[in-house]
Symmetry: D2
Subunit: 262 residues, 4 copies
């Protein structure tokens, strides 16, 4: 089974990048499933129902979210009706939405789970290790192929989480820092891992935003309006090949595609 | 001018890796200067005078530090006598040690500066942007070739810092997260940049430490003794080529070397 | 029912203060139950089995803990055998120890619960609001008289927690900041509340520690050995009177006692 | 010399409270100078030029600010023209506005200084200890009577700061947590001190805001619109009497006034 995952899609440029990238990765990788983190799709802040449908129409099977999940208020009710839009699983049980889904296609079955870290993160969520493990044990009854987006800041928490799940899921890929790391590997238990996939959007930027206002803030500490950047559009993603019977990863490959939008 | 920089050297395994890596990179890159971040060289916590000399004997020209700078108490007085050991420049003015040095060799002159970030970092240091800029303006009177280690956690702060110094230094390389990033580039102003160089030490680990105790802590929140890992020793570094007259970067290349120590 | 609660007992001076304070408050308040937060009783860091017994012999009925709960390693196994020593309830379910107890005396029954906040706190615990509420609903089957120690930093989280439990417990008293607040009150639902009870120990200090090393750290950022202070011993506590049938608070009164130990 | 200082004035209710409180404290304390922290005066977020003038007309001599200093954008330019409006002194040197002022009245001279802490605080400011000390040494050439507002979260940082300045200023009063502490004292060097003065505004609230939305956020982690509360208006302040020749504090007294606005 072949899966492509795109890192945080940032704003309109990120969405344009996605439109260009999807046909390209389809021909390059023939993915059975495509997943994207959509937490910054709406102008950098969350996702709307409209953009959710745009993603789904493009061929994305599952959309994961992170600390920006709820930036657009309509999502709080919408997420209850759209199971392909996942919020991190370790929010309070009462919080709307789900943190996992099983998708089917080409006669294959993939579980996708989204969790969020706690070190240096603002939302005060519950233990991602224990909660994910519990659900994953359940998911194993349905399929050994499980793909996990761990949206977190600290490298130590992300690696620990990946190692913790090694052998019980097919892949743990990190998101949130918007910078792709060069540590993609397959752990001894068969779990593909990368600390961060990176992001889709304008790369002449500070993680997707215009450089000037960010520097202004760091040097004056005065408030500024953050504006999304548009130059140097790139798609950052990861390709994972999974052995269907066992759920073990066979291959992990970093994706960096540049585009000339105009 | 050719410079090789090694990311955080972690413990004895990291130092062994360095011993193996230096002859190898000398033959591969013919560096004029070698720099290494030594903040975790002494069992993961800081550096000792003895290890400092060990580094210098191996051919390292300058050692940078970070938030672990002062873990070994003897360093507080030792650093005043050893100008090749740099603590981050944005500590209080009264703090012992210096945050920059100009080194000479092969008829060449390189300034090295070390600063530390503030987002998600424990030491409450002063503004790295403003303080670094001021010193760099001074250093330009001596040489246009300036190499900066920015020891920081948040990708946004690191990229903003690199962009802020773009055009006024030859390279800004990040350290601290112990995970090499795949975003090495030369910014438009001629500054080579990477968000994190990674670390030198055992990579079957959580950023250099044994996996088991870290997972134990994340799942129980109970205290544990962190032990350094020894498996899968790797050197993470970066190679930068600089045009001497202008100080502009000509090339940046990631280094990942694996070793079989035994 | 009359209850006296002592804020964080810090080190040997704190324990001496307690020895002096208990007979005094017994004659002043005739408490049915005495509770103390013991998270700093052992030299500032956690509590030992020996000190636990010392507390119990002094007439303390229940000892609550906080982020320093596990500083002394022996406590991890000891806490499973000593139900009167409570660790915060919102640690992972597998963590040893319990976060509540029902104590009896003078024909009365009091439930004591200990929870820990998350804002600005190091241990990454689970939601204190939801977990406490669930247990409190259970405890109501046994007694309406419930006394809660909420060990937390941020005033907003503490007040929100108190207001959240207003009407379902007899008292919510804050600990952890070591500074007594002047906002003791009874909320409309009948819950006695104070943001922080303060601490028992040497008050010519920075929250129990010698002033000099702390200032040295703030001005140099260099490591220092923190030493416990001994001057100006004071006991900070709170007195709450509860109507037994309803569990409603009738009275809340701040306690500040000075001692001349020598 | 007699000085009254009011803690963070929150929104319209806070301003109404101030209107009622000022005549009352004038008759009770005959203050030579009145100071108020205005960082939450404009609907909870910062202060406007209009509200600044409103404060000055009420008889407030100096307005201090904190982390909310810049919430209202017009303040960035306005503060340069209004020296009685102070932003924390440890912002970058280039940041508009000043962090101290000397005011005169009744033949008396008082210096007022405003600094901001760093522990658990969002703005990444420079070292408040070292910067304040330097300015205070200068201010001593003008007057020994110096009143300091230290806007900070952590009790340890606040007490350390007060102890650090003990003997060189007349008073250090804390703000920011919006909860008045019961630790007012005069330190051995003659500096009056309190960890937090509290706030002026609606006290049936979570630090000035409506309780419901705050609890909703803590239990669901979903975004909510914070609304200012209006019930139980109170003024929290502090009265300090200073010996003019020496600048030593003679007296410190907590102020809590309740009002029935309607
Ligand atoms: Fe993101
Ligand atoms: Fe994120
Ligand atoms: Fe490090
Ligand atoms: Fe570090
Ligand atoms: Fe604590
Ligand atoms: Fe404590
Ligand atoms: Fe405030
Ligand atoms: Fe504030």
């Amino acid at each position: 089974m072949k899966v492509v995952f795109f890192g945080d899609v940032v704003g309109e440029t990120g969405r344009e990048v996605l439109r260009e990238a999807i046909p390209k990765i389809k021909s390059l990788y023939q993915p059975d499933f495509i997943i994207a983190n959509g937490e910054n799709a709406a102008g950098g802040n969350g996702i709307t129902p409209k953009i959710t449908y745009e993603f789904l129409r493009l061929g994305i099977d599952v959309i994961t979210l992170g600390d920006h999940a709820w930036d657009q208020k309509e999502i709080v009710s919408f997420i209850q009706d759209e199971p392909r839009l996942l919020r991190p699983i370790n929010y309070p049980p009462e919080t709307p939405g789900e943190g996992y889904i099983i998708v089917k296609g080409n006669g294959k079955k993939l579980a996708v789970l989204c969790a969020i870290g706690r070190t240096f993160m603002i939302p005060q969520t519950d233990n991602p290790f224990l909660i994910s493990k519990k659900i994953i044990t359940e998911l194993h009854k349905e399929t050994p192929c499980i793909f996990v987006d761990f949206h977190a800041e600290a490298t130590s928490e992300k690696i620990a989480f990946g190692r913790f799940l090694d052998g019980s899921v097919s892949a743990v890929v990190g998101t949130h820092t918007h910078v792709q790391t060069a540590d993609e590997t397959i752990f001894p238990g068969g779990t593909a891992y990368i600390t961060d996939v990176g992001f889709c959007g304008a790369h002449d930027s500070v993680i997707g935003r215009e450089i000037g206002p960010i520097i202004y803030r760091y040097t004056t500490l005065l408030p500024t309006k953050f504006v999304l950047a548009t130059n140097n559009p790139k798609a950052n993603g990861i390709f994972v090949e999974i052995e269907e019977q066992s759920g073990k990863a066979l291959k992990i490959e970093r994706i960096q595609l540049s585009f000339n939008l105009s």
